[in-house]
Symmetry: C2
Subunit: 442 residues, 2 copies
Amino acid sequence: MNTADLGLPVDVPSTALFTDQYELTMLQAALKAGTGGRRSVFEVFTRRLPEGRRYGVVAGTGRVLDAVENFRFDAGVLGFLRERNIVDEATLQWLAGYRFSGDIWGYPEGEVCFPGSPILRVEGSFAECVLLETVILSILNHDSAIAAAASRMSSAAGDRPLIEMGARRTHELAAVAASRAAYVGGFATTSDLAAGFRYGIPTVGTSAHAFTLLHDNERDAFRAQVDSLGRGTTLLVDTYDVTEAVRMAVEIAGPDLGAVRIDSGDLLLVAHRVRQQLDELGATETKIVVTSDLDEYAIASLRAAPVDAYGVGTQLVTGSGHPTCSMVYKLVARAHSADLKAPLEPVAKKSLGAKSSVGGRKWAARRLDEHGVAEAEVVGTGPVPAELADAQLLVELVKGGQVVAREPLDAVRDRHAAARAGLPLSATQLSRGEAVIPTEYL
Amino acid sequence: MNTADLGLPVDVPSTALFTDQYELTMLQAALKAGTGGRRSVFEVFTRRLPEGRRYGVVAGTGRVLDAVENFRFDAGVLGFLRERNIVDEATLQWLAGYRFSGDIWGYPEGEVCFPGSPILRVEGSFAECVLLETVILSILNHDSAIAAAASRMSSAAGDRPLIEMGARRTHELAAVAASRAAYVGGFATTSDLAAGFRYGIPTVGTSAHAFTLLHDNERDAFRAQVDSLGRGTTLLVDTYDVTEAVRMAVEIAGPDLGAVRIDSGDLLLVAHRVRQQLDELGATETKIVVTSDLDEYAIASLRAAPVDAYGVGTQLVTGSGHPTCSMVYKLVARAHSADLKAPLEPVAKKSLGAKSSVGGRKWAARRLDEHGVAEAEVVGTGPVPAELADAQLLVELVKGGQVVAREPLDAVRDRHAAARAGLPLSATQLSRGEAVIPTEYL
């Protein structure tokens, strides 16, 4: 296929252009200075969780692996860089042969994380690692922000399924990644067909107000929908008068009507009234789906209402107030040469203020209390204490340039549910607070 | 090329899957009921601006035209829909031949907009129009949100150039669209190579802290950078001690040093100190670039500081607090048949509360006062008053399925600057307030 057909950034022939220009100019200068080959360690971490949040969620790792594997400079890309004079000929030559050949370790996708957690550790020459900064951060910052919001929503929803329906509120391809991240965070389904196609996420959807308005009256619209989609369909009952619509819905579809959807009004009140009406009409199995600017707080407030499923759009794809994470990609250690035996020296920016960071190649482990509940995120640069050896968090993702840790999305989703369940109970409080466990540096 | 190489939603062979499932199920039901052919008018508008904002910015229209043109159901897409049982065979047959054959009118890209402005008007059969809802809204809601933030930032920056550098804070392809929208809103350059490649936006970038940390000391790093990138480069001076770094930068590059970049600390204070030091060292032409979580307020607060350019990341790509718009795509009128002579009847959802809308196929015009300054957005459904005939806002974008209004991005950028300049001066106040002109319905 031809990406021109997508109406997308056509002619972007690899992930290599999802890169800030300074990565290439640094590469050029380092190659010329003879320092580009120095063995280097970069780490991805965040200095803080979004204000009030108790835990973060690592999401996008699988997409990072795809991006690294496909990070290549073909003739089209090289031609662009040459024409724009972005780097010199020696650098272009070097880029033409680029394949990431180093190692990547990281938190497995779906894990929870905290300030300072070394979510991803990229090791290789400075030259090969420095180029990956932007594409790695784009993916992890976006996907992790969405997954964190999704996780809070799914814990607020309890056993009731959540439908992701935010595609219209974000960039068309960000929407596909958002569906994926929402699924990781515990959502059950999506309205986005591209997400179903690409990631196999179950898709749902029946009708909108336009369908009712198209017809001469609500009765014609309901009849047309039931005729075509069957009695199990979900009828949207708030185009005109909800009570009248529910009556008509059951009259037309019978008590086997699958569900009704309410998309406006005081959902708590309306859900109670609709449930009572459905029950009185004998439609005791007919479900109630609510949708309308829901977030985790609205979902929690509907806990006592007779609601069977929630559809969430805007607040999911915008991270419920935190549309991005503040993950950074920092050089934390480097040797004086490419020699694997040359000692790694920790490095860190020394400026005053919030932007300083901790140097050194890090491991991380989650220490549990006597009940098996997480009590601290332990991050260290020295040897791993024996008692934490089995609690280490980083796993090997890429070895010598080869991806070694692909996994199905359902495994990621299950991992997240387990990781969240392993946190202290207060993790799922929606009220604002500190990280639910502290980060300790060894 | 093969999109599999992108590590993206591979195998999505057209924009047709950037669609919520309910659009296809509505299509199926309407085709079966014989109502799918009814002539219909859909409009995109927003009921409100983000809280406190004085005006909105229309962006993404050019991308919408690409998306509509490439909205096709090929064998891969149809196979997916069949396998998942999303629609029936009759509908699949219909989709196989799908090409949008209707008309689209809209505000030209870059225009400002207000609550109720009919930003896009899509006309054709219900069946062909209903399918475009999600992809149109994804693009307009994302791009317009970014452009609105960019516009506020560029008006706060005045003549000083703004550099877009937010790719790492948003989805990798949303980043490309964000660069484009930022350019429309008045940004001068981007760090994102993909945006340079795809849209021809000028790209910039030199080095990060990692480059300094790679080397044995700051002196080696600066020397390596100047050796490779020349004296005109921008040296990052806040890895260790700013004063020492500025001294060394001028020592190494000489007074022709292009610029220094400051990425942390109290930018107002540091910029003043660095300017004085540069001047004392004879580097009077060396510019100062600041970057560090800037938004329009921080940019405005630096108005009095000796700053030559601003780099903006997170706050730009997240819409400075408003990462999406609340634009909706609503059926506003329809006939009883496909006949072009059949009368269009206005339709609108009647439910109580904030989600009601105004039915009818609309025109819009911007009424000017005696000084030529905008005083009202006039939206109507009847005949256009003679005195507003020349002030109409909607232009023809697609005619009988053919795109008729492609234009270069610089024209869009210029249009935005002119449109903003035509608003009352209070439009560019950063303080929270109401829309700067009222919307009047005729």
